[in-house]
């Protein structure tokens, strides 16, 4: 399938030609996920089709429990779909993938390791050459403004700093795909904006493909090229929104743009109508 896409080659189209030439970074085809337990069956995802070209930034938004985390876990290979296929760079995902960076909702740091050693865990687990890993860690520490806190233990760091450590850890091995599950959910609004600005800058510098799950509509629109809006159980994709904001995004200027307002209004309307009636929550 992906071979066909690769070899057939489309007639040269001015802008998207280079993207079409390679397989999509993430390709989800007709995926459904059902969780079975003794008490009940839950269809977490249904008829999910999503293709993310390399280097694209995609946000996932949807009501709580609609299967956003499940979708990320599918892409990471931490979960198998009940039906359908998931491909990463053209290869079917069959088990946990190592060519990704995963940022969890909670920072998930090892509390006995300093910030730097938490970042370097990635290298140790992969058996990366130590000096290259150290250099890369220093770069990331500088990039995320963690300098001076390298030796601090997680409990000595603020929530925002913990998330930055977790982000550095996910970026250490320069993964082609970065999966982020509500990474800034625990932060206050101001810190969150600053983290958004940093993430946007890091993404522009690294060219990584990013899938970001978020509950913040502003965050989703500010950061992403495309926003995938999902519906409540069973989770399906309601709409994919492409706000068409410029690549260079100054925060205040961007959130003031009509495209931004338009996109956020649209998402809000979609989510509002997608919210389940209170009694339908099992």
């Amino acid at each position: 399938m992906s071979v066909a896409e690769e070899t057939v080659g489309k007639p040269v189209m001015v802008e998207s030609a280079p993207r079409q030439a390679q397989p999509a970074a993430v390709d989800v085809k007709d995926v459904a996920v059902r969780f079975r337990s003794k008490k009940r069956d839950v269809t977490a995802l249904e008829r999910i089709d999503l293709s993310v070209p390399m280097g694209e930034f995609v946000s996932l938004v949807g009501p709580s429990g609609c299967g956003k985390s499940t979708l990320l876990k599918l892409v990471a290979g931490l979960l198998k779909p009940s039906s359908g296929t998931v491909r990463l760079h053209g290869d079917p995902v069959t088990g946990p993938r190592h060519d990704i960076g995963y940022v969890f909702q909670r920072a998930a740091l090892l509390e006995w390791r300093s910030a730097r050693r938490n970042i370097l865990l990635q290298a140790e687990m992969r058996g990366m050459p130590a000096d290259r890993a150290r250099r890369r860690a220093d770069e990331l520490i500088a990039m995320t403004g963690l300098r001076g806190f390298e030796e601090a233990l997680p409990h000595e760091l603020s929530g925002g700093m913990q998330q930055r450590v977790s982000l550095c850890r996910a970026l250490l091995h320069e993964p082609p795909v970065l999966l982020m599950d509500e990474p800034f959910g625990a932060l206050d609004a101001l810190t969150r904006e600053q983290m958004n600005i940093e993430l946007r800058r890091i993404w522009r510098e690294t060219g990584t493909t990013v899938l970001l799950v978020t509950h913040s509509i502003a965050e989703a629109v500010y950061l992403a090229d495309r926003i995938v809006v999902m519906s409540a159980r069973p989770g399906t994709i309601t709409e994919v929104i492409e706000p068409g904001l410029p690549a260079e995004r100054d925060y205040t200027e961007t959130v003031g743009r009509p495209e931004f307002a338009h996109a956020t209004a649209r998402i809000r309307r979609l989510l509002g109508s997608a919210a389940p009636p209170p009694d339908a929550a099992e």
């Binding site: 995963y102 509390e111 700093m161 100054d250």
Partner: protein, 296 residues
């Protein structure tokens, strides 16, 4: 501070985010020596006061002759015995200490190993767990005589009883520790391509240590009990033997001296385990520095 501010026109603060702050890390700004001493005093005065009150009550009871001295000797007499028979007591204390430490060490090794095996294989868990539980519910004190029959009067049966008594809290705490790992940590490890051994060494095992130490503290005091019980059943050395001898001779001052040293042994070993915890898991100790359970 070190971060380059992106060259935007926006009023974006140049410093790292508000929560970060450009100051030095908080851990450097620890309390001074004086404050630490005050904190230590604050923590210790209550138990010390209680202990002093108990001693005073003991002294008052014996001084007022509320109880005959051959039943409850005065603290003075007891200390006198400790001083006069120091050599004798030391010799026997050493035997009990030796049995306790050896029993504790074996219990820790066996306990940690069984816990690791049980957590990594459901089959093994199903096999081992009922056996462990059965071994635990048998009153060790009741089967101690059997070990003397089997293993003789040497130190071996004492060590076996100490191991049997101390083993259970070690296994239980280690299993709890290994199982309480955050599943996200394991998922993270999977995305890092780490095999089970690396995951165990770098994540699971260190994460389980705080639980293990909670079990070790219980185990070490139980190991003392185990060794002494072993000595009660049949021995010609050790604190258990001293106490039995004193009992037979109605030598209550010596009996009290033995009890005193035995308790001291338990307290010292407990404190050592707690010290080891502080040294090995500074991250854990510092997080609960204000907890009331810290005795040191």
């Amino acid at each position: 501070m070190s971060r380059q501010t992106p060259s935007t026109t926006a009023p974006v603060p140049g410093a790292p985010s508000g929560t970060g702050g450009p100051d030095t890390p908080a851990r450097r700004a620890g309390p001074g020596a004086g404050e630490r001493l005050a904190a230590a005093a604050e923590r210790t005065w209550r138990p010390v006061a209680l202990l002093a009150a108990c001693l005073a009550a003991w002294w008052a009871v014996s001084a007022a002759r509320l109880v005959e001295p051959y039943l409850v000797p005065s603290p003075g007499t007891t200390l006198q015995v400790v001083r006069d028979r120091a050599g004798y007591l030391l010799e026997h204390s050493w035997v009990t200490t030796y049995e306790t430490l050896l029993g504790f060490a074996i219990a820790v090794v066996l306990g940690v190993l069984s816990a690791v095996l049980m957590v990594h294989s459901a089959e093994l868990e199903k096999t081992l767990y009922p056996v462990l539980l059965f071994a635990q519910v048998i009153p060790k004190i009741a089967i101690a005589p059997l070990f003397v029959v089997w293993l003789g009067f040497g130190i071996t049966p004492k060590i076996v009883v100490a191991v049997l008594i101390a083993f259970f809290p070690v296994v239980i705490s280690m299993v709890t520790g290994l199982k309480s790992i955050d599943p996200e940590m394991l998922e993270l490890s999977a995305t890092m391509g780490a095999g089970p051994w690396r995951t165990f060494a770098k994540i699971r095992f260190p994460a389980s240590l705080p639980h293990l130490f909670a079990g070790l503290k219980v185990a070490v005091t139980l190991a003392v009990t185990g060794a002494v019980v072993g000595e009660f059943v049949g021995a010609n050395e050790g604190l258990g033997y001293v106490i039995l001898q004193a009992n037979g001779n109605l030598d209550t001052p010596m009996l009290f001296a033995g009890l005193l040293i035995m308790s001291l042994l338990g307290v010292v070993l407990f404190a050592l385990v707690e010290l080891a915890e502080k040294v090995l898991l500074p991250w854990h100790a510092s997080r609960r520095a204000d907890s009331v359970t810290t005795t040191l």
